[in-house]
Point group: C2
Chain length 317, copies 2
């Protein structure tokens, strides 16, 4: 495809699915890609400010991620963590030695008063990321998962409780006060297309939309906004998205994902396995394209990126 | 020797010389030894609270120190630090992966509001230290080295500038407000002997004495107080003690060390190489014993510990 047609594309991304598509888009667009990342699963662990969603995207974009483990850095070692265990001080969140360099840098710069946007830019530059990576907000915004065992901070739910407790509701601490940064607002205004990556709708995309006024900016946008479904054959490729749909009373499907975004979405990239859902999604007023959305290897990520860019190009005025 | 004679001995220690003698004393006394450590070279590095003097003693007492390198932990790796270098965020202070477990634990517990005494006890227990390790104060007390290139925080002088700049004066930030903890005061009152380890007189022992009212407590003490000289043959075994004496206008010698403590000291363990100084030190009113004070290996450390305990025993009423 002719990737030179795009001057600036914005992707909203979180988690592994989001990170993979962002990396595929970066293969095509390089620095012409801006990735807006979720901060609502950030956590203070052992005094360190951890941003797992931003870091997943950053490590994939830098090509330093561990594909087999699914999170963190390749060639990671665990000497600090093993020593914390030895001296009886290990937190429930595993911290890799190399990953710690990111957390130490972020924590120190935040303590110095630098906004997360600036800190993230410095980290991304340090790790060699080509695209621009922006947290949606510099303000505090946190996902609180209300479960059968009580309300849990996101990492507590996701890592410590291995997303096992049934969910009753998901709320966002800081909603109403957390503001989309000026640089993200500018990026959205100058974008020629906006892509919702196949990230968890409830805990990666939704908290982005809760930073004010992101949803309103998307509604007001005149450029194509297209989404890639994180649900394939009624299941999530990875993670708790399908389980969350069921626990919140809805059958997981691409259609159910699309319904969440009808107020601003223009196009939807559906997996071939879900072709039977195409008509219902089109009935929502969306343009639908289909491909194999599983992103196997660098070529697979590039292929899905091409498919979503092609859909967006077709929707440009 | 009959080490069962002692119920409680307090050692004042900092740095490698102090750590070695403390370890020798611990071989004899186990939990009947209390080590009071210096905190004036503590530093905030990359958001972490580092206590190099306390940690040197703690790692030696736990038997986990790196003897060849002279500081830090044995079997250390540097993956976090190398990654900080890779992403352009390395501080000037090298942090080992395993050592980081200590700093992360200390920093987090201090941020939670726990006093350094409690934090140090927890770390020492975690590392398996038999003796009791106490920071002299929970208050802020910092060595500021005034040099030809300006005032430097201690680690800045010692690590970053490799103790090269000539010293003009040494001052202590927090002097006048930093108080000896109640638990250290109790330890000194219940001690049957107090030992000044062969630590740097200017930057390990002096800042201990500047925590109020440590010097007055030593003056008022009725139990034997004995020192082991850190200067042998006019030189320090390790570190800048001899250089500091010269820059501050005095010839480095065991006698020069002894003169600093005449208001409270009872006995002095001199190195055999400095036998010619014995008479002058005795003329200060001190009892002098002699041995080879170089502490080669565990047996060497035990031997010097025995010598100092024997001197103290001879001075008991």
């Amino acid at each position: 495809m002719d990737d030179t047609a795009w001057h600036h594309v914005v992707a909203l991304a979180g988690g592994v699915g989001g990170a993979k598509l962002a990396e595929g888009l970066q293969q095509r667009l390089g620095p012409r890609l801006t990735v807006v990342g979720n901060v609502a699963d950030d956590e203070e662990i052992w005094g360190l400010h951890i941003s797992p969603d931003l870091d997943s995207v950053m490590y994939w974009l830098a090509g330093v991620n561990d594909e087999a483990r699914g999170w963190g850095l390749a060639d990671e070692t665990w000497h600090t963590f093993e020593t914390l265990e030895r001296i009886g001080s290990a937190p429930w969140f595993r911290l890799g030695d190399r990953d710690l360099a990111t957390h130490l840098t972020r924590t120190t710069l935040l303590h110095e008063g630098k906004p997360l946007t600036e800190v993230t830019a410095r980290l991304a530059r340090g790790w060699g990321v080509q695209a621009r990576l922006l947290p949606v907000t510099d303000d505090r915004l946190r996902t609180i998962v209300h479960t059968e065992i009580g309300p849990l901070a996101f990492q507590d739910y996701f890592v410590r409780h291995r997303w096992e407790p049934a969910i009753q509701a998901i709320r966002f601490e800081g909603e109403g006060s957390a503001q989309v940064t000026a640089v993200v607002q500018d990026a959205l205004r100058s974008a020629e297309a906006i892509i919702l990556c196949p990230s968890n709708p409830f805990v990666s995309i939704e908290p982005l939309l809760r930073a004010a006024p992101l949803r309103e900016l998307l509604r007001a946008s005149t450029v194509p906004i297209v989404a890639v479904s994180p649900i394939v054959g009624g299941e999530a490729i990875k993670g708790p998205a399908a389980k969350m749909f069921r626990e919140l009373g809805e059958e997981p499907s691409a259609l159910a994902v699309a319904r969440r975004y009808t107020d601003f979405l223009d196009g939807f990239l559906l997996d071939e396995r879900d072709a039977h859902e195409a008509a219902a999604i089109e009935a929502l007023g969306l343009h639908v394209a289909m491909t194999d959305t599983l992103m196997e290897g660098a070529a697979g990520r590039r292929r899905v990126a091409d498919a979503v860019l092609t859909l967006a190009a077709a929707l440009r005025l």
